[in-house]
Protein backbone atom coordinates (compact mmCIF):
# COMPACT_ATOMS: atom_id res chain seq x y z
CA UNK A 1 0.00 0.00 0.00
CA UNK A 2 1.30 3.40 -0.90
CA UNK A 3 2.32 5.58 2.01
CA UNK A 4 2.27 8.67 -0.18
CA UNK A 5 0.28 11.35 1.51
CA UNK A 6 -2.69 12.74 -0.36
CA UNK A 7 -3.72 16.23 0.78
CA UNK A 8 -6.99 16.15 -1.14
CA UNK A 9 -8.02 12.92 0.55
CA UNK A 10 -6.95 14.31 3.93
CA UNK A 11 -8.97 17.48 3.67
CA UNK A 12 -11.90 15.70 2.17
CA UNK A 13 -11.79 13.31 5.16
CA UNK A 14 -11.82 16.34 7.46
CA UNK A 15 -15.03 17.67 5.93
CA UNK A 16 -17.11 15.29 8.09
CA UNK A 17 -17.90 16.36 11.69
CA UNK A 18 -17.78 12.81 13.09
CA UNK A 19 -14.37 12.21 11.55
CA UNK A 20 -13.12 15.51 12.95
CA UNK A 21 -14.39 14.46 16.37
CA UNK A 22 -12.62 11.09 16.02
CA UNK A 23 -9.35 12.88 15.21
CA UNK A 24 -9.83 15.21 18.16
CA UNK A 25 -10.29 12.17 20.41
CA UNK A 26 -7.19 10.47 18.95
CA UNK A 27 -5.19 13.65 19.47
CA UNK A 28 -5.34 12.85 23.19
CA UNK A 29 -4.15 9.25 22.71
CA UNK A 30 -4.83 5.98 20.93
CA UNK A 31 -8.21 4.28 21.17
CA UNK A 32 -10.07 1.21 19.95
CA UNK A 33 -13.19 1.28 17.80
CA UNK A 34 -15.28 0.51 20.87
CA UNK A 35 -13.75 3.38 22.82
CA UNK A 36 -14.19 5.70 19.88
CA UNK A 37 -17.83 4.72 19.40
CA UNK A 38 -18.72 5.45 23.03
CA UNK A 39 -19.30 9.22 22.86
CA UNK A 40 -21.20 8.99 19.58
CA UNK A 41 -24.74 7.93 18.93
CA UNK A 42 -23.68 5.81 16.02
CA UNK A 43 -22.79 2.15 15.66
CA UNK A 44 -19.33 0.61 15.76
CA UNK A 45 -19.54 -0.38 12.06
CA UNK A 46 -20.24 3.27 11.24
CA UNK A 47 -17.21 4.32 13.28
CA UNK A 48 -15.16 1.65 11.50
CA UNK A 49 -16.26 3.12 8.18
CA UNK A 50 -15.13 6.59 9.24
CA UNK A 51 -11.82 5.14 10.45
CA UNK A 52 -11.32 3.49 7.08
CA UNK A 53 -11.68 6.87 5.37
CA UNK A 54 -9.22 8.42 7.83
CA UNK A 55 -6.76 5.55 7.35
CA UNK A 56 -6.97 5.81 3.57
CA UNK A 57 -6.37 9.55 3.86
CA UNK A 58 -3.16 8.82 5.79
CA UNK A 59 -4.38 10.51 8.98
CA UNK A 60 -4.89 7.46 11.19
CA UNK A 61 -2.95 4.20 11.61
CA UNK A 62 -3.80 1.00 13.48
CA UNK A 63 -1.64 -1.15 15.71
CA UNK A 64 -2.12 -4.84 16.44
CA UNK A 65 -2.11 -5.77 20.10
CA UNK A 66 -3.51 -9.27 20.60
CA UNK A 67 -7.18 -9.04 19.69
CA UNK A 68 -7.15 -5.24 19.98
CA UNK A 69 -6.58 -2.89 17.06
CA UNK A 70 -6.03 0.47 18.66
CA UNK A 71 -5.97 3.47 16.33
CA UNK A 72 -3.77 6.52 16.66
CA UNK A 73 -3.01 9.65 14.65
CA UNK A 74 -0.57 9.08 11.79
CA UNK A 75 2.26 11.42 12.63
CA UNK A 76 3.56 11.71 9.05
CA UNK A 77 0.12 12.49 7.63
CA UNK A 78 -0.73 15.05 10.28
CA UNK A 79 2.65 16.71 9.88
CA UNK A 80 2.37 16.83 6.09
CA UNK A 81 -1.00 18.53 6.38
CA UNK A 82 0.31 20.81 9.05
CA UNK A 83 3.26 21.91 6.95
CA UNK A 84 0.94 22.62 4.07
CA UNK A 85 -1.33 24.74 6.25
CA UNK A 86 1.63 26.54 7.78
CA UNK A 87 2.89 27.45 4.32
CA UNK A 88 -0.52 28.78 3.36
CA UNK A 89 -0.97 30.65 6.60
CA UNK A 90 2.38 32.33 5.98
CA UNK A 91 1.27 33.32 2.49
CA UNK A 92 -1.89 34.82 3.97
CA UNK A 93 0.02 36.68 6.67
CA UNK A 94 2.53 37.80 4.02
CA UNK A 95 -0.30 39.79 2.39
CA UNK A 96 -0.99 41.63 5.62
CA UNK A 97 2.70 42.33 6.23
CA UNK A 98 2.82 43.91 2.79
CA UNK A 99 -0.31 45.89 3.65
CA UNK A 100 1.38 47.07 6.89
CA UNK A 101 4.22 48.49 4.83
CA UNK A 102 1.86 50.06 2.33
CA UNK A 103 -0.11 51.70 5.15
CA UNK A 104 3.10 52.95 6.77
CA UNK A 105 3.99 54.51 3.41
CA UNK A 106 0.57 56.21 3.15
CA UNK A 107 0.99 57.61 6.64
CA UNK A 108 4.40 59.05 5.73
CA UNK A 109 3.06 60.61 2.53
CA UNK A 110 0.28 62.24 4.48
CA UNK A 111 2.75 63.68 6.96
CA UNK A 112 4.88 64.87 4.04
CA UNK A 113 1.89 66.74 2.56
CA UNK A 114 1.20 68.52 5.82
CA UNK A 115 4.77 69.77 6.22
Amino acid sequence: MSTEFNLDAAFSALADPTRRAILARLASGEATVMELAEPFEITQPAISQHLKVLEQAGLVVRRVEGARRPRRLAKAGIEAMDQWLEMLRKAFEKNYERLDMLLAGMEQNKRGEKQ
Partner: protein, 154 residues
Protein backbone atom coordinates in the same frame (compact mmCIF):
# COMPACT_ATOMS: atom_id res chain seq x y z
CA UNK B 1 4.40 39.55 16.09
CA UNK B 2 1.26 37.52 15.65
CA UNK B 3 -1.57 39.86 14.90
CA UNK B 4 -3.76 37.62 12.82
CA UNK B 5 -6.35 35.27 14.26
CA UNK B 6 -8.40 32.76 12.37
CA UNK B 7 -11.26 30.77 13.74
CA UNK B 8 -14.23 28.82 12.54
CA UNK B 9 -17.76 29.56 13.68
CA UNK B 10 -20.67 27.17 13.28
CA UNK B 11 -20.48 24.89 10.25
CA UNK B 12 -19.96 27.43 7.51
CA UNK B 13 -18.18 30.53 8.82
CA UNK B 14 -14.52 31.49 9.00
CA UNK B 15 -13.57 34.60 10.95
CA UNK B 16 -10.23 36.33 10.45
CA UNK B 17 -9.14 39.30 12.50
CA UNK B 18 -6.06 41.47 12.05
CA UNK B 19 -4.90 44.73 13.60
CA UNK B 20 -3.26 47.47 11.56
CA UNK B 21 -1.30 50.52 12.69
CA UNK B 22 -3.32 52.85 10.46
CA UNK B 23 -6.72 54.46 10.53
CA UNK B 24 -9.79 52.61 9.17
CA UNK B 25 -9.91 54.99 6.20
CA UNK B 26 -6.45 53.89 5.03
CA UNK B 27 -7.10 50.17 5.56
CA UNK B 28 -10.44 50.47 3.78
CA UNK B 29 -8.86 52.27 0.82
CA UNK B 30 -6.17 49.57 0.57
CA UNK B 31 -9.02 47.10 0.09
CA UNK B 32 -10.89 48.96 -2.68
CA UNK B 33 -8.33 50.93 -4.72
CA UNK B 34 -6.89 48.69 -7.47
CA UNK B 35 -3.43 50.28 -7.50
CA UNK B 36 -3.18 49.57 -3.77
CA UNK B 37 -4.65 46.07 -3.91
CA UNK B 38 -2.01 45.15 -6.51
CA UNK B 39 0.72 46.05 -4.04
CA UNK B 40 -0.25 43.72 -1.24
CA UNK B 41 -2.84 41.06 -2.10
CA UNK B 42 -0.24 38.81 -3.70
CA UNK B 43 0.05 35.63 -1.63
CA UNK B 44 3.40 33.86 -1.60
CA UNK B 45 6.66 35.58 -2.57
CA UNK B 46 7.17 35.77 -6.32
CA UNK B 47 3.55 36.28 -7.36
CA UNK B 48 2.11 39.42 -8.94
CA UNK B 49 -1.40 40.60 -9.82
CA UNK B 50 -1.22 41.78 -13.44
CA UNK B 51 -5.00 42.27 -13.67
CA UNK B 52 -6.99 44.01 -10.95
CA UNK B 53 -10.52 45.08 -11.76
CA UNK B 54 -12.29 46.37 -8.70
CA UNK B 55 -15.50 48.37 -9.14
CA UNK B 56 -16.15 49.48 -5.59
CA UNK B 57 -19.90 50.09 -5.77
CA UNK B 58 -22.93 47.86 -5.13
CA UNK B 59 -23.13 45.38 -8.02
CA UNK B 60 -19.59 46.32 -9.10
CA UNK B 61 -17.35 43.61 -10.52
CA UNK B 62 -14.20 42.16 -9.01
CA UNK B 63 -11.57 40.32 -11.00
CA UNK B 64 -8.07 39.64 -9.70
CA UNK B 65 -5.59 37.66 -11.79
CA UNK B 66 -2.38 36.32 -10.28
CA UNK B 67 0.72 35.07 -12.06
CA UNK B 68 4.08 33.75 -10.90
CA UNK B 69 6.03 34.60 -14.05
CA UNK B 70 6.58 30.88 -14.74
CA UNK B 71 3.42 30.37 -16.72
CA UNK B 72 1.25 29.54 -13.72
CA UNK B 73 -1.72 31.59 -12.70
CA UNK B 74 -5.25 31.65 -11.36
CA UNK B 75 -7.95 34.23 -10.86
CA UNK B 76 -10.77 35.33 -8.62
CA UNK B 77 -14.06 36.92 -9.62
CA UNK B 78 -16.71 38.52 -7.47
CA UNK B 79 -19.34 41.19 -7.06
CA UNK B 80 -19.81 43.91 -4.47
CA UNK B 81 -23.03 43.84 -2.48
CA UNK B 82 -22.64 46.79 -0.15
CA UNK B 83 -19.96 49.35 0.73
CA UNK B 84 -19.96 51.73 3.63
CA UNK B 85 -16.82 53.89 3.67
CA UNK B 86 -14.71 53.40 5.77
CA UNK B 87 -16.30 50.77 7.95
CA UNK B 88 -17.86 47.90 6.03
CA UNK B 89 -17.59 46.00 2.77
CA UNK B 90 -19.83 43.10 1.72
CA UNK B 91 -18.93 41.12 -1.37
CA UNK B 92 -19.19 37.66 -2.90
CA UNK B 93 -16.14 35.94 -4.39
CA UNK B 94 -15.02 32.69 -5.95
CA UNK B 95 -11.64 31.35 -7.05
CA UNK B 96 -11.11 29.87 -10.50
CA UNK B 97 -8.57 27.06 -10.37
CA UNK B 98 -9.69 27.05 -13.22
CA UNK B 99 -13.03 25.55 -12.14
CA UNK B 100 -14.91 28.00 -9.94
CA UNK B 101 -15.09 27.26 -6.22
CA UNK B 102 -18.46 27.72 -4.47
CA UNK B 103 -19.31 31.33 -3.62
CA UNK B 104 -17.74 32.80 -0.53
CA UNK B 105 -19.88 35.56 0.98
CA UNK B 106 -17.54 37.98 2.75
CA UNK B 107 -18.24 40.80 5.17
CA UNK B 108 -15.21 42.93 6.06
CA UNK B 109 -15.46 45.40 8.92
CA UNK B 110 -12.96 48.11 9.86
CA UNK B 111 -13.19 49.46 13.38
CA UNK B 112 -11.17 52.07 15.25
CA UNK B 113 -8.83 50.30 17.65
CA UNK B 114 -6.77 52.78 19.64
CA UNK B 115 -4.71 54.63 17.04
CA UNK B 116 -5.14 51.80 14.55
CA UNK B 117 -7.75 49.55 13.04
CA UNK B 118 -9.22 46.21 13.92
CA UNK B 119 -10.28 44.45 10.74
CA UNK B 120 -12.73 41.55 10.99
CA UNK B 121 -13.39 39.39 7.96
CA UNK B 122 -16.39 37.13 8.27
CA UNK B 123 -16.65 34.55 5.49
CA UNK B 124 -19.73 32.43 4.92
CA UNK B 125 -19.38 29.31 2.81
CA UNK B 126 -22.31 27.33 1.43
CA UNK B 127 -21.54 24.18 3.47
CA UNK B 128 -19.03 22.56 5.83
CA UNK B 129 -17.36 20.64 2.99
CA UNK B 130 -16.59 23.85 1.14
CA UNK B 131 -15.27 25.40 4.31
CA UNK B 132 -12.94 22.44 4.90
CA UNK B 133 -11.65 22.79 1.35
CA UNK B 134 -11.16 26.49 1.88
CA UNK B 135 -9.20 25.98 5.08
CA UNK B 136 -7.08 23.61 3.02
CA UNK B 137 -6.30 26.24 0.43
CA UNK B 138 -6.11 29.40 2.42
CA UNK B 139 -5.32 29.35 6.07
CA UNK B 140 -5.25 27.73 9.43
CA UNK B 141 -5.42 28.43 13.11
CA UNK B 142 -2.35 29.94 14.65
CA UNK B 143 -1.69 27.34 17.30
CA UNK B 144 1.76 26.08 18.08
CA UNK B 145 1.47 22.37 18.54
CA UNK B 146 0.73 20.24 15.50
CA UNK B 147 -1.89 18.16 17.19
CA UNK B 148 -3.41 21.08 18.99
CA UNK B 149 -3.58 22.81 15.63
CA UNK B 150 -5.46 19.95 14.10
CA UNK B 151 -7.72 19.67 17.09
CA UNK B 152 -8.34 23.38 16.86
CA UNK B 153 -9.63 23.10 13.32
CA UNK B 154 -12.43 20.90 14.54
Amino acid sequence: MSKMTLKTEGDTHVIVTRRFAAKPEAVYRAHVEPEMIQKWMLGPEGWTMPVCINEARPGGKIRFEWANGKGQGFYLTGEYVELKPYSRIVHVERMHLPDPTPDNHVETRFEVDGTGTLMTVRMTLPDSQTRAAMLATGMEKGMEDSYARLEGML
